[in-house]
């Protein structure tokens, strides 16, 4: 099958962990994190073809900057909800462990590290909490897919599509465990 061989043509990627930064530097950090993941300079993010138009000069605004910032906010809010529910409901601590790990790593790769957003409203029991969470995660998964389609950079699109697929896997696991 040609996939992995073809994948190599996209460019080797680094296994170095993305640097942890605070939310204040989220945008710059996010772009740096994506660049580290993709093994490229920030200027390369706009194109997957080395022979295409030249990279923007330093200081030029990345066309995906706003999109990445939105994604960071969405992942941070998703992580906050998962962590809050894990603290509130002992029975959800283990089942939601994988989802927490996914969001945490996604946030790290995007150059941020802290869950943020508004504290989720209280839920009466674990079942209700899980239903609320599942609906929220499904929206998050679809948003990531939409952002992947909207991204100017092919490398960023690939990353966001993969993040969306990871959330879909976690939703499938939760659904299976709930049966």
């Amino acid at each position: 099958m040609a996939g992995p061989e073809a994948l190599d043509r996209v460019g080797a990627v680094s296994r170095r962990p993305a640097p942890r930064t605070t939310r204040r530097t989220a945008l710059g950090g996010a772009l740096a994190g994506v660049a580290v993941l993709a093994g490229c300079e920030l200027g390369d993010l706009g194109s997957d073809d080395p022979d295409s138009a030249p990279a923007p000069s330093s200081g030029a605004e990345d066309p995906d900057a706003g999109l990445v910032e939105d994604v960071v906010d969405e992942v941070a809010a998703a992580l906050l909800l998962v962590e809050t529910l894990r603290r509130r409901h002992d029975s959800l601590r283990r089942p939601l462990g994988g989802l927490a790990r996914v969001h945490d790593t996604h946030l790290e790769v995007l150059g941020s590290s802290r869950p943020s957003g508004r504290k989720p409203p209280p839920t009466s029991n674990a079942g209700e909490a899980l239903a609320v969470l599942s609906a929220r995660e499904l929206r998050h998964q679809r948003l990531l897919a939409d952002r992947a389609v909207a991204a100017q950079s092919g490398r960023l699109a690939r990353l966001l599509a993969s993040m969306s697929a990871a959330v879909a896997q976690q939703l499938a696991v939760l659904a299976e465990e709930g049966r």
């Binding site: 996939g3 993941l37 790593t105 389609v149 599509a161 697929a165 499938a172």
Partner: protein
């Protein structure tokens, strides 16, 4: 790498996947291992639909769809259900990598379709006892290390 080239690579991958799934299907039993049989059968149908869709996209781009090879290398020792499931899991993981790569090399509706195919493939991995991943199809940063 043009969009047409990327679509041709994905199409070649689906030719291979269909061939191997055909072999895997012959190794499963609807009565002895109904769940595995259903999973393999459903996957075969999905990959066939993807092959047909990719063929159409290549034609739309003005290309001649890459033909299937006469035969492909198949996994050895497929005599047990776990071996069949393992081979199917590897196949889906490679498929996920291909579609993640196709996402990077397409735009608009074609990229949307590739995103959906990646998601479907990632979830399908779980039916073969695959573990959830942090970056399905783009595993270079974390898992499967």
């Amino acid at each position: 790498m043009t969009t047409l080239d990327a679509l041709q690579v994905a199409l070649a991958g689906e030719h291979a996947a269909l061939y191997v799934y055909g072999v895997l299907g012959a190794q499963t039993s609807a009565s002895d291992t109904p769940q595995l049989f259903d999973s393999v059968s459903e996957a075969y149908e999905t990959h066939r639909a993807r092959r047909d869709h990719l063929t159409g996209l290549v034609l739309e781009e003005g290309g001649t769809p890459v033909a299937s090879e006469a035969a492909y290398e198949i996994p050895r020792r497929l005599g047990t259900p776990s071996a069949v499931a393992g081979a199917a899991l590897q196949l889906e993981r490679r498929s996920a990598s291909t579609y993640a790569w196709l996402v990077a090399n397409t735009v608009g509706g074609q990229r949307r379709w590739a995103v959906d195919a990646l998601t479907d493939t990632a979830v399908r991995e779980l039916s073969y006892r695959g573990s959830p991943e942090i970056f399905p199809g783009a595993d270079e940063s974390t898992d499967r290390g």
